[in-house]
Symmetry: C2
Subunit: 219 residues, 2 copies
């Protein structure tokens, strides 16, 4: 089943949520958003995930990233389930809205359907899909995990930090990069430009090809 | 641009690589595979990524996971570039094949196109897409990152471990789970069944709903 992918504009759906109706593009506004689905309320992995993301809310707040959960249960179920989430993860406070999608229209349009899970009436269930959306309402990055595999919220914070930093400067973040570590200068930047653009200086790695493309700097 | 997603069977393409022609389904065989694309040879983030994944080869070998890189440069370029990769990451040995895809047919069919990058002739460039493929040749999990954001190979090993463990037992792995930590028992397993299935025992978390769905066990 082909689905929405990076570069696509997220559909501007009007959805029902625990915070009332939400028009997705208005909700994102001029900032960033992380939209993430979970298979079902009152299930184990989801309870651990939604608590952890609530615990990390400060990390998203300070980066001006809105959070939006999505699942197919109704809002009354979401509200009851939030009590379990907050009891399991002490200190968390589920302040972000959770979309109710009983007809599965939202998860189908957002490429959040789990190919291997159905409910008792044969309807699709959501996967653990997560899209990071930029201020232009386009999907910048997606992780698509199945129901069996809980996400890693440290990885989500890491990639949001990378996406935001690399949207402002002509840099990229290397493998296994963590916030605070050195970044690389984009290949489109000449050495002459790099000297002006990065007055703090940069280190070029000596390579057998003698090509000067691996340049690290601190930002 | 809609693309291949989790649950889809990976197309059985015949591709050209640094190890000669590869028929993708034969290459995967009865095991698992991680297929990952990178934007271009002789570019900074890719050099750090392909070295790191080579350094982690043992982790993939012991899980019977084949590795397959994909990029649009030709095999002669890949072979020259591997010298740089191995020089930058001491101790790594790039033993996995890298596909050459000058016509972009592979990256289009595998949903590995970066929406924002073009080469000097206007052709698409690959994103940092990564698919984990199961023995049934279906995509179990995908991460789709843009050129600016290097992947996290620890996260890749973590999810492969989760996918393999949860394919054998009726369990799932909670948020931020790492190999060796407790897992949760699938909701489809009754308490009666769980007692037989997990003779080592399990702990049920007390929750406000009084529903007994959050059950942890060691495996």
């Amino acid at each position: 089943m082909p689905g929405l992918t990076i570069g696509d504009t997220i559909p501007d759906l009007l959805v029902d949520s625990t915070h009332g109706p939400i028009q997705i593009h208005d909700f994102i506004g001029d900032g960033w958003a992380v939209i993430f689905s979970h298979p079902a309320d009152f299930t184990p992995v989801c309870t651990t995930e939604l608590g952890k993301i609530a615990l990390y809310a400060e990390e998203f707040d300070k980066r001006e990233v809105k959070l939006l959960g999505v699942s197919c249960d109704d809002t009354a179920s979401h509200v009851e389930w939030i009590k379990d989430i907050e009891a399991y993860t002490p200190g968390c406070n589920v302040r972000y809205p959770i979309v109710a999608d009983p007809d599965r229209e939202v998860i189908r349009q957002l490429n959040m359907v789990d190919p291997d899970q159905k409910d008792s009436s044969g309807l699709e269930l959501p996967s653990r899909a997560l899209h990071v959306i930029g201020p232009d309402k386009r999907i910048k990055l997606s992780i698509l995990y199945p129901a069996t595999t809980g996400r890693n919220m440290d990885e989500v914070v890491r990639v949001v930090e990378s996406l935001q930093k690399t949207s402002k400067l002509k840099i990229a973040t290397p493998v296994n990069w963590k916030p605070g570590e050195k970044v690389v200068i984009s290949p489109s930047v000449s050495n002459e430009e790099a000297k002006k653009m990065f007055p703090q200086g940069y280190d070029t790695v000596d390579l057998p090809s003698n090509k000067e493309y691996l340049r690290f700097t601190n930002i």
